[in-house]
Symmetry: C2
Subunit: 193 residues, 2 copies
Amino acid sequence: MSLENILSFARSLLEKVVKPGDIVIDATIGNGHDTYFLAKLVEDTGHVYGFDIQENALHETKKLLSSKKLLHRATLFHTGHEHVLDVIPGDEHRHIKTAIFNLGYLPKGDKSVITKPETTIIAVHKLLENMASGGVIILVVYYGHEGGIIERDALLRYTTSLDQKEYHVLKYSFINQINNPPFIIAIEKRGNH
Amino acid sequence: MSLENILSFARSLLEKVVKPGDIVIDATIGNGHDTYFLAKLVEDTGHVYGFDIQENALHETKKLLSSKKLLHRATLFHTGHEHVLDVIPGDEHRHIKTAIFNLGYLPKGDKSVITKPETTIIAVHKLLENMASGGVIILVVYYGHEGGIIERDALLRYTTSLDQKEYHVLKYSFINQINNPPFIIAIEKRGNH
C-alpha cells in the first residue's frame, strides 16, 4: 500500500523526528506500544516520559519494556498528561522533541475512561510553548466513542487557530471511510530559520 | 521541516509509486515540472503521457524535456485530460500506475483558463476504472481563484463517495493557513490481495 495508514504515518513521523539522545513523550501510554517504539529511537542517551491515568496501562507498559530490557530508557507517571511540565525536569523542557497522544479510550481497557479535550489542549499548549524548535506533536484522534465528537471538534478548533508563522498544522485523514475512522493532526513548531 | 509541504508530499508519493517501465500521466502539464520529474522516474522503458489545453504549456514542456534529453520518454497532447483514455493505446490502460492533476490555473499563465470540475471528475473516474491495482491518482487542489471553491467541493464530494473497499482516499492538508492553501487528495486503487 502506497498511502500510509494512520498508525504507519504516525510511526514514520516519529522515525523522522526523533534522534538518539532526544527527550520524548508518550502522553497516553495505553498498552505501551508507542512507549516501546520511542524507547528504541532515543537509544541509551535519550529518555521517554510516559503518562497514563490508568494503573493497568503503567503495569502493562513496564512489563513490555522490561521484557525488551529497555525500562531504563523510560519514566512512567501515573498522572494525566496536563501535568507534563510539572514532572519533567525543567532543564529538559527545551529539549523535548516530540509528544504523541492517542486520544479516545484505551483499547481493551475501561471505555468509560476517556481523554478530555480540556486536559488534552492544556498539555498540547504547554508543550508547544516550551518544546524544541522543529519539534512535532502528533495527535491520533479516535472519536467513535461517547464524547468523541466533542473532543475532535475542540482539537480541530484549537489547532486550526494556531499561528501559521509559529506552527505548521497538518491534518492527515482518510475521507471515504465509514464508522468514524481515526485521523492525525501533526503540529510542527517552526524554527527561527 | 519534518512535515512535508504539499509539493514535497506529492513528489514523495510519486517516487514511492512509480517504477522504471511504468506508464504514467501528467494530466495538467503546465510548466512541465511534473512531466520532467515523471520522465526521470519511468526511465527509458516507461512512458509519460501529458495533457494540457494551453498551447504554451506544451511548448514550454517540450523545451524543458529537450534540454534534459528526455523528450523521447513523453508524448504530449494538446487536449483536455477527459480524453485521456481515447488517446493512450488501449493495451496500456491497465498499466497506468499514476496520474497527477494540478487543479486550478497555470501559474504565470492565462488566469481565465482554469480546470473544470466536470472534466476533472470524468478523467479521474475513467482512470480509476481502468488503471493498475495499486495505482495512485494525486490531485493537488488550488482553489483560490474564481470558481475554485466550486471545483474543490465537487472533488471532495466525488472522492468522499468512493467505495472504501475499492479505494483508499487520503486528504493531506495544512489546516491553520490563511489564503486558501492548496491541499492534496490522493486515491489508491486497492488490489485483490
